[in-house]
């Protein structure tokens, strides 16, 4: 069953929730105020529960013989399929909120799609998840407003920094899982990830424009090597001002070209993943098969 692309899809969905849930849980006791301790702890609890449902489905569908604990905690680092965005450290509060907004808005697009999947067991789980994610989206949107439109310019700047740092890797949430074409032709995925990305990015671009924050989509890269011209000037191309993969076309922010920080869907991770993995799996590695 190793070549069944449904396993890669379930692991991508579940690992995103597990790993971002782990990062959220790191705010427990450390958030700026106690309501946010509770908020991020609760969101973490929801995300880990969603991961558990999806791991359970992988086993029930015969795609793996590992149980939910073995899948969550008993895999090697390169076996995790989460997007790199999810594993980045929480860092600044501005980054935390920016990432939560970008992640949960992207998640709501794919969850809505998969709630209509002809794979009935997956659709059932997604409908449950959809009801609970509402509170995550509300939380992200409320903080978006508070930081982007609040009385503090510092808060707005730190939020913008967070958005700029997270944006490229948020796009890579839509890096296709291996075998996506088969999943689409089988009907498991109602749409390609490219179509989902287009819907999400145009929405996010519009939301950012509403708060005059769309400049984070057109930050000064420069992405490629800069070569002086004969006159000594360095010509700046439009692409030098943009997050890799984002262009404005016919008034809509759209994706074009490659991904930044992609690879999670094929088990490639950033330097930030290993310390997280070591901590998250420490007990399970010391006591393989531990139950709690």
């Amino acid at each position: 069953m190793d070549d069944d692309p449904r396993l890669g899809l379930l692991l991508a969905l579940a690992d995103d929730e597990l790993i971002i849930g782990h990062r959220h849980s790191e705010w427990t006791g450390w958030a700026p105020h106690i309501e946010e301790d509770l908020a991020f702890s609760s969101i973490a609890q929801d995300e880990m529960a969603h991961a558990r449902l999806l791991y359970g489905l992988a086993r029930e569908a015969g795609l793996t013989d590992r149980d939910e604990d073995a899948l969550a905690l008993g895999r090697r680092p390169e076996e995790y399929r989460n997007a790199v965005l999810c594993e980045r450290p929480n860092g600044d509060w501005g980054f935390t909120v920016a990432r939560q907004y970008l992640y949960d808005s992207a998640d709501s697009v794919r969850v809505a799609d998969l709630a209509e999947s002809p794979w009935p067991e997956l659709a059932e789980i997604m409908k449950v998840i959809q009801l609970e994610e509402k509170y995550h989206a509300d939380h992200a949107v409320a903080w978006f407003r508070r930081l982007a439109d609040g009385p503090s310019l510092t808060a707005r700047e730190r939020f913008a920094e967070g958005l700029a740092a997270a944006m490229g890797e948020a796009i890579a949430l839509f890096d296709p899982v291996p075998g996506e074409a088969r999943l689409v032709s089988q009907g498991v995925l109602p749409r390609s990830s490219e179509e989902m990305l287009a819907e999400w990015l145009s929405h996010v671009g519009e939301a950012l424009e509403g708060f005059s924050l769309d400049y984070v989509l057109a930050r000064h890269g420069p992405v490629g090597e800069m070569v002086p011209t004969g006159s000594g000037e360095i010509p700046l191309e439009a692409s030098d001002f943009q997050v890799p993969g984002v262009v404005r076309r016919d008034g809509v922010w759209a994706h074009e070209g490659g991904f930044t920080g992609a690879g999670g869907r094929r088990g490639r991770h950033s330097v930030d993943f290993l310390p997280l993995w070591e901590e998250m799996t420490a007990l399970y590695r010391a006591h393989p098969g531990a139950r709690w």
């Binding site: 309501e35 609760s42 969101i43 929801d46 709501s108 009801l131 509300d138 407003r145 508070r146 708060f211």
Partner: protein
């Protein structure tokens, strides 16, 4: 083919009565039947099978509820096997809470769902605006503010009543799918 006997029907009535004595440890006054999480009961000569719906998938009380339900069912199942499991279809919604459940929640100091206000998710800093809030379970006032959509359990949110100056909790409404991407409204 399962032939239902009068004996099975009697056991089924006992099963529902036994389940009415099982409570969610996070909401002690509300029985699981009033919470609306009992989705199905099947009684045959061999087994008593009960399907439960979790309120929230990450609810840490699920295992306790299942164990309590199994213990209560063993007392009425005679020699039958007892099987209790959680299922996810249909998704539980807060509309499944019964009138008795709503009264139990209010008496416990938790506003039942459906008494929600229309205020913002997070009160804007330094805001003096007052919108219609969630009804206070203590004094009944709507002059309340949502402090956080999160609280001591996954199913409860935290509010503050300006009229009687009590903090209180409300059961999170869980009614319809979140259809659209969260959209922050631009500044007015």
């Amino acid at each position: 083919m399962v032939i239902r006997t009068g004996e099975d029907e009697r056991v089924e009535r006992d099963v529902w009565a036994a389940l009415a004595g099982v409570h969610d440890p996070e909401i002690p006054p509300c029985s699981i039947t009033d919470l609306g999480i009992v989705e199905g009961v099947r009684v045959s000569d061999e087994a008593v099978e009960v399907d439960l719906l979790p309120t929230f998938a990450g609810c840490p009380a699920l295992d306790v509820i299942r164990q309590d339900a199994e213990a209560a069912l063993r007392a009425v199942a005679d020699e039958r096997d007892v099987r209790v499991r959680f299922v996810f279809t249909p998704p539980w919604t807060s509309a499944r809470i019964t009138e008795a459940g709503r009264r139990a929640l209010t008496a416990y100091g938790v506003t039942p769902p459906g008494e929600s206000g229309k205020g913002p998710v997070l009160v804007p800093l330094a805001s003096l605006s007052r919108s219609e809030g969630t009804r206070c379970p203590f004094c009944g006032s709507r002059d309340t503010a949502l402090e956080s959509a999160f609280g001591p359990t996954l199913c409860r949110a935290t509010h503050y009543c300006r009229a009687c100056r009590n903090p209180f909790e409300a059961f999170k409404p869980k009614t319809s799918p979140h259809a659209s991407i969260g959209a922050p409204l631009p500044p007015a």
